[in-house]
Amino acid sequence: MANWLRISSRTVANHIKKRMNKEFMGGAVHVNQSSGLWWGLNRGGPVSDRNRRHMDPLAWNRATLLCVQRFKSTLAEKQHDSFLSSDSDDDNQSVDFPGGKVSYTSEMSFISESSQTRVPCYRVLEDDGDLISDCDFQQVSKEDAVKMYSNMVTLQIMDNIFYAAQRQGRISFYLTSAGEEAISIASAAALSEQDIILPQYREPGVLLWRGFTLQEFADQCFGNKADYGKGRQMPIHYGSKKHNFFTISSPIATQLPQAAGIAYSLKMDNKKACVVSYIGDGGTSEGDFHAGLNFAAVMEAPVIFFCRNNGWAISTNVSEQFRSDGIVVKGRAYGIRSIRVDGNDALAVYSAVSAAREMAINEQRPILIEALTYRVGHHSTSDDSTKYRQLDEIVYWKKARNPVNRFRNWVQNIGWWSEQQETQLRNSVRKQLLEAIQVAEKTEKPPLSELFTDVYDHPPSNLEEQEKHLRETVTRHPKDYPSDISV
């Protein structure tokens, strides 16, 4: 065991803090040619007290120690020796390699494939909505709490009604966020409007929080001319520039490396904003997950990677998805600070995202959040999940572990919400949704010309030819074509 570990963690922490302040922030920019990394834009302030409290002290110090070593040339190790050899026999036990100094051991031991215990998950509310005593959390204002709860209810009702609309054949497809309402709403509530969202597809709650109207949701699902996407994609593939919500695409995890690039741009602009990119448990198996996290870490980009671990990727249970302790442990593999949170606890999600955001922006680093939850609904309207999981499992999560009920209990107990408001809200939302659907259904589809625009900034000649030819065909065979698209 390397001798330096015997030094008290506080000593280590103070030493690193001093070195960091002197060498890496504000002062001289130390560019290490051999590592090719640079610190010019590490504008991170000292880790705030609040955040430091949330971090395992030894873990933080080890991570930062590795950081400090990474950016020093192996030739410059002499400067480090003064720190490392508080115990004099240290020099004998460490060896240089590109990437820094490592101590060595003659005892051959493999790091275990898993810890003795799983990483605990952070929660603030009991299952019944009571606040856990002496817990650490970011307080939410009454206004925000009421908005959060109302949005969670709205999301629930929206999901039920749109799902039913698909079953009635009025829209072609839908997928719900059932069971995950706290994740999208509470995470959105902890962010600012300037933070940029790169969703997977089960986070419409973020858009709802930011002010996307029920009509706007309905318009996209019906693909009418009011749809910002101009009717080009399947339902639920929302996108809204004015809400800083990038358009959803079906391929899984492709948004993760893009998030790193977007965050890098924010970094270049010194914006006090971050990117939040969502992914499911299944998506973390994709190569783009590895690419996204690695790039964000190396580029020191302010991204929050938010993983909704809901246990299922269509019919594939997490036991068939990975053999690690979920996703949270993967953060360390990339040098990314991570936390596991109870995704069905709105306050815990809110607190974790608040803290993550502060770290991401102030320290210009990515953060990984794994929110444990359960996908109560089927994967989508094309799925019947009773084919691969037990009905009583679904019912248990829907009833006993419901994030909406849990949060309601909390807001009600505090006196910020009442049964009467509940009834009023549910009736009102239901009515608005039914109206929005009626309006969306009656609204014209986009005109045929929108088939050909936006492939490029201007249509090239082959598209102009094809449009001309197509119009002639439509004129000759009008019955082949839907009548609700104006030619």
Partner: protein, 358 residues
């Protein structure tokens, strides 16, 4: 203190402007001003220097670009523009392109390098499913037009399977991106600057064989060459030859020899493969009545097939002979058998004669 201000001061600009106005005149570089004889990688290097100097939101990144790149195309950029704008990435093509899409989506000019076109495939999903559809699927709320992906392609004499590929055909089948291939240093500089400044994502394949071998007078100033405009680089009346990149010099040699036999060849450099300039090729075929296409990529499903089908559709009654294709074989690119695989001057010459004598 804003980072942009640091850049501004380093460049000696008092007030940092986002972009310096650049010439969009489509001069082909013959205009006034100094021209120096330089090779292809130097021309590309010049284009990159100009791109970064005229737009302080332009970035160059990829594997090994920081020290100058394995082909020296990015020499001097990191020193001049700093490590925030010119930097190495981890070894991960899907990450490079995904990251580039994100950067471009925020209005930056993201110039991504893929070290060899042979390694572009991990990024295929990001290119086809994301970059190409970014604008369309969002209803034009978002776009990644600032993305340019550069990759060396083509035979180099000893590259074998994985340092010689010509994958252009895969990308020509993707609506939403552009595919551009220069034939020479002067073309490369002007075309690359156009690609970088074009508001659509572009894949730019550079013929690696020519990085050192091709030397040409290249004007030192900032100039752009138009995309989607093919160029007749040799006038003729008996047969039209269509090609791109390094293959054109082989075709030109074939044309010279054919001329000795009294065959007058018209040679067209397509330059942009997607969207391609059908009008110029059609006009030439209407003149000659014969067409031959040549590319290094395997013949089956190669881009020559698209050109052939389009020409037959448009010029069927004018054609005096079947459309000829002289291309690579339908095999992985071989090492010791490279001379047999390649569409050589004599293969082309034989095909010219066969077509003319049909």
């Amino acid at each position: 203190m804003g980072f942009r201000n640091i850049i501004g001061r380093r460049l000696g600009l008092g007030l940092v402007r986002r972009r310096k106005p650049f010439s969009t005149a489509t001069c082909d570089g013959d205009g006034n001003g100094n021209a120096k004889s330089i090779n292809l990688y130097s021309a590309i290097n010049q284009a990159l220097h100009i791109a970064l100097e005229t737009d302080n939101r332009a970035f160059v990144f990829g594997e090994d670009v920081s020290f100058g790149g394995v082909f020296r195309c990015t020499t001097g950029l990191a020193d001049r523009f700093g490590k925030a704008r010119v930097f190495n990435t981890p070894l991960c093509e899907q990450g490079i392109v995904g990251f580039g899409i994100g950067l471009a989506a925020m209005g930056n000019r993201a110039i991504a390098e893929i070290q060899f076109a042979d390694y572009i495939y991990p990024a295929f999903d990001q290119i086809v499913n994301e970059a190409a559809k970014f604008r369309y699927r969002s209803g034009n709320q978002f776009n990644c037009g600032g993305l340019t992906i550069r990759a060396p392609y083509g035979a180099v004499g000893h590259g074998g399977h994985y340092h010689s590929q010509s994958p252009e055909a895969f990308f020509c089948h993707v609506p939403g991106i552009k595919v551009v291939i220069p034939r020479s240093p002067r073309q490369a500089k002007g075309l690359l600057l156009s690609c970088i400044r074009d508001p659509n994502p572009v894949v730019f394949f550079e013929p690696k064989w020519l990085y050192r071998l091709a030397v040409e007078e290249v004007p030192e100033h900032d100039y752009m060459l138009p995309l989607s405009e093919a160029e007749v680089i040799r006038q003729g009346s008996d047969i039209t030859l269509v090609g791109w990149g390094a293959q054109l010099s082989v075709m030109e040699q074939a044309c010279n020899e054919a001329e000795k036999d009294g065959i007058s060849c018209e040679l067209i450099d397509l330059k942009t493969l997607l969207p391609w300039d059908k009008e110029t090729v059609e006009a030439s075929v209407r003149k000659t009545g014969r067409v031959l296409i040549s590319h290094e990529a395997p013949v089956t499903g190669g881009f020559g097939a698209e050109i052939s089908a389009s020409i037959v559709e448009r010029c069927f009654l004018r054609l005096e002979a079947p459309v000829a294709r002289v291309c690579g074989l339908d095999t992985p690119f071989p090492l010791v058998f490279e001379p047999f695989y390649m569409p050589t001057k004599n293969k082309i010459l034989d095909a010219i004669k066969a077509t003319v004598n049909y």
